[in-house]
């Protein structure tokens, strides 16, 4: 007897199914990545175990995971916000750099001994710079319908190189023995850290931003407009919602939040501006927002998971002598399998007995 595979469109997806699917897709990703790890010549099970131990096996590992989670949550909220309106802000990375650059500028030019006013000035500078960077793509989209995927992506390179110009050039620390970095920030320009970990005050900012994200989307008029445009732009236009203005505003806010991620990262953790201050958080944020289905709580959970992956990845780099790329391979596998599993959200796969002609 012969069977053939048939795809049927789903009309509804059950709650359990919605919950199980991301787990399944991560498992599939780990499997795929395991195959890749085997090519690197290590046992995938051992590698995963080492990753898990390194990330969650000790308080130190856990705190390091939180440290990584902070910028991921903040930039996840940033892109998630834009994605809610189906504005594809791929430029969080550049906006993070602009935020960090502005933070460094504030530290350089607005020396103040009051920690509060110093941090406030840095945050405001970061928000304005990141927001401005997002706004450019927003205005281009609103005025001339320029594809924001391309503009935001290209602006990333501009921002990163702009930051490098200052780091290598005028703002380089004369006492850094030639290393490209700005002078260390004074203590008044540092976000406090908790106990003896590297977890800094940015974690509060991250949680507050998630709450605000939820509040805005769920309860405000503006959030309703954003969702309506995202769900059905034609209906939104019919409802009298102004598209162009909202694109600019959403891109500003999205960029501003990403800029804040840049500020918390260098003020809380690195204490100075240096090249590679964000190892691609802005890009990982895209995966996070997607995996979380733009759900605020989901962004926290997925960011934490990604944090585990990053810290665990560092561990296996050290223990198993694997290249950094191996972690990125795992991340890539996850995104691929999430996209692939999206198909199963929409279709059922059935095995149907083939009739004889």
């Amino acid at each position: 007897m012969k069977y053939r595979i048939v795809f049927r469109k789903r009309f509804r997806t059950g709650m359990i199914f919605e919950g199980v699917l991301p787990v399944l897709s991560v498992l599939a990703a780990l499997f795929l990545a395991g195959v890749a790890l085997m090519f690197f010549g290590v046992s995938p099970l051992e590698a995963y175990r080492a990753m898990f131990r390194g990330a969650l096996g000790s308080w130190y590992g856990f705190s390091e995971v939180l440290v990584k989670t902070i910028p991921l949550v903040i930039s996840g909220v940033a892109v998630g916000f834009a994605f809610r309106m189906k504005i594809w802000n791929i430029g969080a990375e550049g906006q993070i750099y602009m935020g960090a650059l502005a933070t460094a500028a504030a530290v350089r030019f607005l020396q103040s001994s009051s920690q509060f006013s110093m941090l406030l000035a840095m945050a405001v500078a970061a928000v304005i710079a990141g927001g401005f960077w997002g706004c450019i793509a927003g205005v281009l989209k609103a005025r001339w319908n320029v594809n924001e995927v391309i503009t935001t992506l290209m602006l990333n390179y501009v921002a990163i190189h702009l930051a490098e110009y200052f780091i290598y050039g005028p703002w380089r620390d004369p006492s850094s023995l030639g290393f490209p970095m700005t002078p260390p920030f004074p203590p008044s320009a540092r976000l406090p850290q908790f106990l003896d970990t590297r977890v800094h005050l940015g974690i509060v900012a991250a949680i507050v931003l998630v709450l605000i994200f939820r509040l805005v989307i769920r309860w405000t008029r503006w959030g309703f407009e954003i969702r309506a445009v995202g769900e059905n732009p034609k209906a939104a236009e019919y409802a009298g919602i102004r598209y162009g203005r909202n694109v600019v505003m959403v891109m500003f806010v999205s960029g501003a939040i990403a800029g804040l991620a840049g500020m918390t990262e260098i003020a809380g953790l690195q204490g100075r501006l240096q090249p590679g201050m964000s190892p691609g958080y802005g890009y990982t944020a895209i995966i996070i927002a997607w995996l979380a289905r733009l759900n605020p709580w989901g962004i926290i959970i997925v960011s934490f998971f990604m944090g585990v992956l990053l810290v665990g990845g560092e561990t296996i780099q050290v223990i198993m002598r694997l290249p950094l790329a191996s972690v990125q391979v795992i991340q890539g596998c996850i995104l691929f399998s999430v996209l692939a599993f999206e198909f199963f959200r929409n279709y059922r796969v059935l095995l149907v007995r083939k009739e004889r002609n």
């Binding site: 309860w219 059905n232 019919y238």
Partner: protein, 527 residues
């Protein structure tokens, strides 16, 4: 079956088909004889399209068999069906606009793999035109043709492929009355040539006019097959709906009040920068329904978009209640009481991914009573209002928190009516409000519009269904290629012929005696 009686051209027996639990066809039998026009009649969702998609090879049935001239056939792809002589003319004919008529006919022919023998194709096309009386210039580009002519191309295309069995899916829904007449001539010719025609429609007058036999479907089942001699409009409707249907809607005479909407010399461009509405003027008064008749795609939707403030206008003025609104954002139009029921419910009028409350909020969320602390949506108030509206407009729903996509077509439209009409707007722009709805939902929509008129709104009713226009309107305007062809002040005096000619581009002035100045004057019925 005895040998003396020839097998019918098509015999479908016990056809079953279900989709995700819902039975679309259950135990349906259908016979089509040679030289017969057989109508499939039924409401939306009765299973007509499913049955025809099975016959044309798009779907495979779950059970049942198909016999072509007595021989059992199984169609797994449309190609199988085409080679068995089945040709389907879809509602949206699939033609390539940038190619000529003969090129479209030749497109996809199997016996011409590399080069097209243009002359022999054109000769064959002309032969078909001669035989069936279908006239289209084979050298014309498809984009130059009217919708009616494009339909003829689609029919030629199927006849060229030697279709013996022609399925016409709601062919008249896009035609003017005159074009419908020409189509019926063609159908009769095809019948004369001893082919079989399956005709799908829900317009009862037409069905009685053209059919030899009628098969009525309801909820996926066959109700009956009757010869046309035994059919009356009332009996067909009753079988179709399952209960008695009253055709007359109680329409009282009203005294129209002052002008609530005035459009003056409007010029509106469509999506590709082409002028779609050309110096169009009209006045809409309180307590009247002004019907705007026209073949769809003649600028009606662009006009209504402009009147609702959604589409920019190039020139002209829009005055609502004495206030000029042209150039203002559409929110200003909403504030002045302009309601808009767009033709595309799912694509424009509603957000089907959002829940029922949010769909009610869609064009009201900014109002004071639905706002809290200026920036927040007052969801409690919206929920309360939604509850009332859903009840008042009897929107059957699984719960206010469920996405609108779970509602049926009729209930989606009721939801939109609820949102647009509940606050007694000054102006109601209703475009194709009953399009695609079943009989009872259509009736509901029409009665609701009449009620809204009686409550004092001015209603601009856009429809390409003349019957709808004639039965609801107090005055009738006709649009053709974006231009106003004239306004008929007394619908009772207008004949369908005259309106049809106006829809095809004859201006009202040409019907008038010479000594009457052109303009909006009552017109005598044209004999």
């Amino acid at each position: 079956m005895s040998l003396s009686v020839p097998a019918p051209l098509v015999m479908m027996r016990g056809i079953e088909k279900s989709f995700v639990g819902a039975k679309a066809n259950s135990d349906i039998d259908l016979d089509l004889r040679r030289g017969e026009v057989h109508t499939l009649l039924g409401e939306n969702g009765a299973g007509k399209s499913t049955l025809m998609n099975i016959l044309s090879g798009l779907y495979t049935p779950d059970d049942g068999s198909i016999f072509i001239e007595g021989e059992e056939r199984k169609f797994r792809t449309p190609r199988d069906a085409i080679s068995a002589g089945i040709g389907m003319v879809h509602q949206h004919f699939m033609l390539v606009p940038t190619q000529t008529v003969w090129e479209n006919v030749a497109l996809g022919l199997e016996d011409q793999p590399f080069s097209l023998d243009k002359n022999s194709i054109i000769a064959k096309v002309r032969d078909i035109q001669e035989r069936y009386g279908i006239h289209v210039d084979p050298h014309a580009y498809v984009w130059q043709l009217s919708i009616g002519e494009q339909q003829r191309v689609a029919i030629i295309k199927t006849l060229y492929r030697k279709a013996d069995i022609l399925i016409l899916d709601e062919p008249t829904s896009v035609l003017t009355p005159q074009e419908t007449k020409a189509l019926f001539q063609t159908i009769r010719q095809i019948r004369q040539e001893k082919h079989g025609v399956i005709f799908i429609s829900h317009k009862l007058d037409e069905v009685i006019d053209i059919s030899d036999r009628i098969t009525i479907l309801r909820k996926g089942r066959k109700v009956a097959t009757i010869p046309v001699q035994n059919a009356s409009k009332e009996s067909l409707a009753e079988m179709m709906v399952g209960r008695r249907v009253v055709f007359q809607i109680g329409k009282t005479l009203q005294n129209p009040g002052k002008v609530v909407l005035k459009a003056k010399d409007l010029v509106v461009r469509g999506g590709r920068g082409i002028v779609c509405v050309d110096k169009f003027s009209l006045e809409l008064r309180q307590r009247e329904i002004l019907g705007l008749a026209g073949v769809s795609g003649n600028g009606q939707e662009e006009l209504c978009d402009a009147l609702a403030g959604i589409r920019q206008i190039d020139d002209g003025a829009i005055v609502v209640d004495g206030v000029e609104l042209q150039g203002k954002p559409s929110r200003e139009f909403q504030k002045k009481g302009v309601s808009y029921i767009p033709a595309d419910r799912i694509g424009t009028g509603l957000v089907t991914g959002m829940n029922i409350r949010e769909n009610i909020a869609l064009r009201k969320y900014w109002r004071k009573e639905f706002t809290r602390f200026r920036f927040f949506v007052h969801w409690e108030n919206i929920a309360g209002r939604t509850g009332q509206l859903v009840e008042r407009y009897s929107v059957v729903n699984p719960g206010l928190g469920f996405p609108a996509r779970m509602l049926s077509g009729g209930n989606l439209q009721k939801l939109m009516l609820a949102r647009e009409l509940a606050d007694d707007p000054r102006v109601v722009l209703a475009v194709q409000p009953s399009w695609g709805l079943d009989v009872s939902a259509t009736l509901f929509v029409r009665e609701t519009l009449l009620e809204q008129r009686d409550r004092g709104s001015g209603v601009l009713l856009v429809s390409d269904d003349l019957e709808e226009i004639l039965s609801l309107s107090d005055r009738i305007a006709v649009i053709h290629k974006g231009k106003l062809m004239g306004i008929v002040e007394d619908p009772d005096s207008a004949s369908e012929e005259q309106l049809g000619l106006m829809m095809a581009g004859t201006s009202l002035a040409e019907f008038l005696p010479d000594d009457v100045p052109p303009g909006h004057v009552p017109v005598r019925a044209v004999p």
